[in-house]
Subunit: 394 residues, 2 copies
Amino acid sequence: MGKLKGNVLIGQSGGPTAVINQSLLGVIEQARRDPRVRQVLGARHGVRGMLEDKFVRLDKQPAVALAAIAKQPGAALGSVRKKPTEEECVRIVEFCRKRDVRWLYYIGGNDSAETAQLLEKVAERSTWEMQLFHVPKTIDNDLCETDHCPGFGSAARFVALALMGDDLDSRALPGIKLDVIMGRNAGWLTAASALARVRADDGPHLVYVPERSFDLEAFARDVEAVRQRLGRCVVAVSEGVRGADGKTVAVTKEVDAHGNAVLSGSGALGDFLAAELKRRLGDKLRVRADTFGYLQRSFYGCVSSTDAREARAVGRAAVRFAREGGPRSGSVVIRRIPGKTYRVEYGWVELERVAHVTQSLPERYLGRGADVSEEFLAYARPLVGGLPRPVVLP
Amino acid sequence: MGKLKGNVLIGQSGGPTAVINQSLLGVIEQARRDPRVRQVLGARHGVRGMLEDKFVRLDKQPAVALAAIAKQPGAALGSVRKKPTEEECVRIVEFCRKRDVRWLYYIGGNDSAETAQLLEKVAERSTWEMQLFHVPKTIDNDLCETDHCPGFGSAARFVALALMGDDLDSRALPGIKLDVIMGRNAGWLTAASALARVRADDGPHLVYVPERSFDLEAFARDVEAVRQRLGRCVVAVSEGVRGADGKTVAVTKEVDAHGNAVLSGSGALGDFLAAELKRRLGDKLRVRADTFGYLQRSFYGCVSSTDAREARAVGRAAVRFAREGGPRSGSVVIRRIPGKTYRVEYGWVELERVAHVTQSLPERYLGRGADVSEEFLAYARPLVGGLPRPVVLP
């Protein structure tokens, strides 16, 4: 790369997280330290703002406002779910030329990495020299190459605290409780529910992830076995659980009869599973289902301090990697440093290794039956920040 | 009353709250200061423990364990939903005689106040002299005689923080978002969603409570009007909304076709309303529904400091009111002291004024259209503790 000088452009894309604005701030503060950078622009709603020439001067915002925004859920620039066409990519590079943008940072998940990759290909062929970095975020934790994703720790914290409280609620008023947790293709967030356990009889007693095939009959049998043993059963189940045929439970015929097949933003799966349990185990059972839905990413006031710190750091790291003589593009990854104490370092990989691919829970993180492994718990525990340890009367 | 000496018995009943254990601690600590009190017993699962002679010696628990329990959601003694028969009341009074219980404190909602009243009538006719106090709790805030109920402030805080985050999420990815909130007969908790607003265009943009009749056509029209104006619409709707015929929307024929008619622990109402909006306003609209469910009372880590303090105080107050020469029975109430600064005092009323009756949102707390009034916001604001003020980029 030549000796670039010019403006920085930041976009946010995909589902917001509790800490996506920390990454925004990370990019802003690191970019403003760079003497080559003139202005720091924020595209409204990601690539849509670039296509419509809608942006905000982030370097003109009061420091106190930016500091507040870093702590807020939601995507402060506005987000978008859009894969630009080749023609749109050309227009976006033209927008960058017009606005003197030499560095583009796109904060998002694997689809956003793909968008960055598409843009990079077009930029490479153009006469406009620029660097493009993908800054990772996703509550789903399903990006490849990275140890974990900014956004996951806070969502996992929400899930763990929800299950911890739910287990205490279930001890008070026993019954069968189902909690449907986000994660269409990967069970990371559902698996994090197991962090709620302190004692052997704490819930969740059963954890169902999409990585293992889901069978209604086995499910009912598992639940009944726990209920016989403990007088109650708390279940964490991923919205994306699938039958042996690979179809999600929520799009089988049985569920269509119960309504919508949309997974998030719908209580259909939970209601369906609750009805199935009643049908199989008895109508008089107290069965309740909660679908945690968007609260998992948007609840205001549930942030993992580790997650917040790392989300900020990946934003800063992206700007550092886009140095003079550095790579033209890449995606920031978090690498865990082996050792007893949790420590990480930040690196980068080529966009193609992250774009459009996802990482499921590996076999070693799955436990026997409907559960996760100890190894998963050791992996996930440092990510969610300190958790309370509920006390139960003897 | 004579000069009673003996044991204290505490029970918890009905749905748990984030602070019901604060009230438990309040009773324990005040009772242990009373030289007339020998032991402090906790009945397991309320009246059921009294019928089955199952209890725990609370005065033998380590102080550090009790202090931790005070901060936990759930009902640490176990709860129950049970109205004892007259014969069972007789057996419970016999249990009290056998266990030398002279003071019974029952922590719960209006049904629990009724249980206390039934027990009191039987106790009055018996030769066993004792005092019975109801200690109020309910996230629904629907008890009569009291300014507000312990448990409401924390649940209202959860709802306000959820809506605040949801509004930021909706700004990032605009669409129509429905949030279904607990409260079968009274809209207090749904109304509290309006505390999430800071700016004029903040959500929730529409608030539907059971106190006003709910019409699907008007609902769709309201939503569309907001969407036309702001490009998005965030709606808070009570699980108990009713049509003009007085029937809840969730038990009309349309909803039966969508599944379960249970209000809490089911996503049926939200899914039904989302489907209706799509049908009426267009299939391509992005409509999502979340049903907050039990998280509202059980999420671990969302407590209003005001609520926690007052829940502790009503427990203590109950013990003080059950003094020598004081009333045989009663229910503790919170009275707001008029003035610019929020202050309360604690009083008591006869059980019959609280038992089995509920308090809906009064007309003055309802605003024009689907909204609450400024007066409601002034009433509710001090109860939820300090809230963040999200910043939005210009």
